[in-house]
Amino acid sequence: MLSSYQLDLLSNLGINILLALSVYCPMATGQLSIGNAGFMALGAYTSAILTVHLHLPLFLALIVGGIVAGIVGVLVGFPALRLKGIFLAMATLAFGEIVRNFFMNFLKPLTGGAYGFRGIGDTPISIVWIWGWVLFFLLFFFFLSRSRAGLAMLATHDDETVSELIGIHIVLLKVGAFGIGAFIAGVGGGLYAHYYLYIEPEFFNVWESIHMVLYVIMGGMLTFWGAVLGTMIFVLLPEFLRFLQDWRGAFFGVLIIGLMIARPSGIVTREMLRKDFWHPLRKGT
C-alpha cells in the first residue's frame, strides 16, 4: 500500500507526463512550443469554471477544457506555420504569457484573478483519474507512432519541403499536432485544477512551459517514451537526492549541461525501439 506522500508524488508525475506529451506532439512535427502552460491554464480554468459554477460532471468539464485549449491551439497553430525555430519558440512563449495575463485581468468574478481560484471541489480527484488519462494518451501515441500518420509526422519533422513534395499534407499535420498537443495540455490543466483544488495565474508561467520542454528534450524528443522518461527523471529523481537539499536545482542544472554534451539526442532514441513493426504485416515474409 502506498503512503499518501507517494500517491501525491505519482499524481504529480502523471500530470507532468501529460504536459510533457503535450509538448512532444508538436515537437514531433518539428515545432518547438514554449507556451503550453498557456494551454494548461485554459484547460484548468475552463474545467474549474464548469464544475464550480455550472456544476458539470468532471469528465465533461475535463473534455470541454481540453477542447477549448485545443481550439485555441489550432487558432495559434495556423499563423505559427509561418514561423520557424526561435521565432516560433518566442511566439509560443509570448502566447503563454498573454494567456496568463488574461486570467490575471479578466473573468475575475469567476476565477478570482490574481488572487486565485479556490475551492475547486471538496476533495482532490483520485490518482486513477490522472493515470487513466495518462494511459489513454500513451496508447494514443503508441498507435500513432505505428501508423502512416505518425510516419508522416516524422517526415515533416525531418524535412518539410521534401515531405510536401512527396504528397504529405504538412499544414494539416502541423496544425493538427499543435491542436492535439494543446488538448492534452488542457486536460492536464483540468486534472491539475481538480487535484490541487486551487489555481492561480502565476502557476502557469514561462518556467512551467520550459520545464515541459526540458522533460521532452532530455528524455529523447523523437519518441513519446522520451517524454515519459524525461518527466520521470525530473519528478522522481529529486526524491532520491534529499541529501542535496537546496542544491538540487544546481544538480539538475549540471545534469542538463552534462547530458547535452554526452547525449544530445536525449536518452531514448529511435534506434532503441523495435524497428521491424513497420515490416510486412504477415509473418514469415
Binding site: A149, G150, L154, D158, E164, L165, G167
Partner: protein
C-alpha cells in the same frame, strides 16, 4: 485544344524571376508518356528551377504547366505530388531520422487511403499489399539487407537508390531526376542506368537533368537543352550532338 493521346506534361511560356534575375525565360516543352527525356545545359541554366516550378516549390511568374489535361501551375506541392509527379534532388535528401525501409514506405503515403485515419489499421489488406511492394522494390534494388539501417548512413550510391525508390514508391506518372549520377563512379553509374531502365519498363515517364553526356546520350529518347533559362535546342541525341548552338553553350564560341 486537341490533347494528344500520349501527352503527359506541357510547359507553355513559363517564366520565373528571382529578384532581378530571370532564371527561366518563356520556356515551352512537351513530354509524352513512356519515354525518357533529358534536360541538359551549362551550370546555372535554370534546370533545377524548372523542376521546382513543375513541382510547385515556387510559383511561376507567367506561363502554365499542365499534367495531362490538368492545370497544375497554381497548385500546392502536395497536390501536384498526389497527381503523380515525383522527384529526386541534386543533393540527396533522405529523411535522416528514418531507416531505409521507412524512407521507401513514406513514399507510398499518397497511395494509402487511410489518410488522417491512418492511426487505425483500416484497409489492412491494402496496407499488407503496399508493404509487400516496398519489400519487392528494396530487394530488386539490392537494398533489402540495409533496410533497418538509418538511410543516411548508407554508401552514397545506395542512398541515391533509396531516394529513387522513395520517389517511385507512389507509382508516379512522371519521375523527375535531378543529376542522379552526380558524384558516382563508373560502376555506380552503370548500376543506376540499370535501375532507370527498370523504371522505364514499369511505364513511368522520366525527365532527367544530367551533366554526364554518356548517360544522356545513352538512355534518352529526346533531349531539351537550356541556357540562361531558355530552351536553345531540342531533339534526339544524334541531332543534339551536332547542334552548333549547344556546342557553343557548353564550350564557348570559337574565336
Amino acid at each position: 485544344m486537341i490533347l494528344k493521346e500520349s501527352q503527359l506534361l506541357t510547359l507553355k511560356g513559363v517564366s520565373k524571376n528571382f529578384g532581378g534575375l530571370r532564371a527561366v525565360n518563356d520556356l515551352s516543352l512537351d513530354v509524352s508518356k513512356g519515354y525518357i527525356y533529358g534536360l541538359i545545359g551549362p551550370n546555372g541554366a535554370g534546370k533545377t528551377t524548372v523542376f521546382n516550378l513543375i513541382t510547385g516549390v515556387y510559383p511561376c511568374n507567367s506561363g502554365s504547366i499542365l499534367l495531362e489535361d490538368v492545370t497544375v501551375t497554381e497548385l500546392k506541392s502536395y497536390r501536384i505530388a498526389r497527381l503523380g509527379i515525383s522527384r529526386t534532388f541534386q543533393t540527396i535528401r533522405l529523411f535522416p531520422s528514418m531507416t531505409t525501409w521507412e524512407n521507401v514506405l513514406i513514399g507510398q503515403n499518397t497511395l494509402s487511403k487511410s489518410g488522417i485515419r491512418g492511426i487505425l489499421p483500416i484497409r489492412r489488406a491494402q496496407e499488407v499489399e503496399l508493404r509487400r511492394q516496398a519489400q519487392e522494390a528494396l530487394k530488386v534494388l539490392g537494398l533489402w539487407e540495409m533496410r533497418d539501417r538509418k538511410a543516411v548512413t548508407l554508401p552514397y550510391g545506395n542512398q541515391r537508390k533509396v531516394e529513387i525508390a522513395r520517389a517511385i514508391a507512389a507509382r508516379p506518372k512522371l519521375l523527375l531526376l535531378d543529376e542522379p549520377t552526380a558524384g558516382m563512379n563508373i560502376r555506380e553509374t552503370k548500376d543506376l542506368l540499370g535501375v532507370l531502365s527498370k523504371i522505364h519498363e514499369l511505364g513511368i515517364t522520366i525527365l532527367v537533368i544530367e551533366h554526364d553526356m554518356r548517360v544522356v546520350m545513352g538512355i534518352c529518347d529526346h533531349i531539351f537543352v537550356l541556357n540562361f533559362g531558355q530552351k536553345i535546342a531540342e531533339g534526339s541525341p544524334a541531332e543534339i550532338r551536332q547542334n552548333e548552338e549547344v556546342l557553343e553553350a557548353y564550350l564557348g564560341k570559337e574565336e
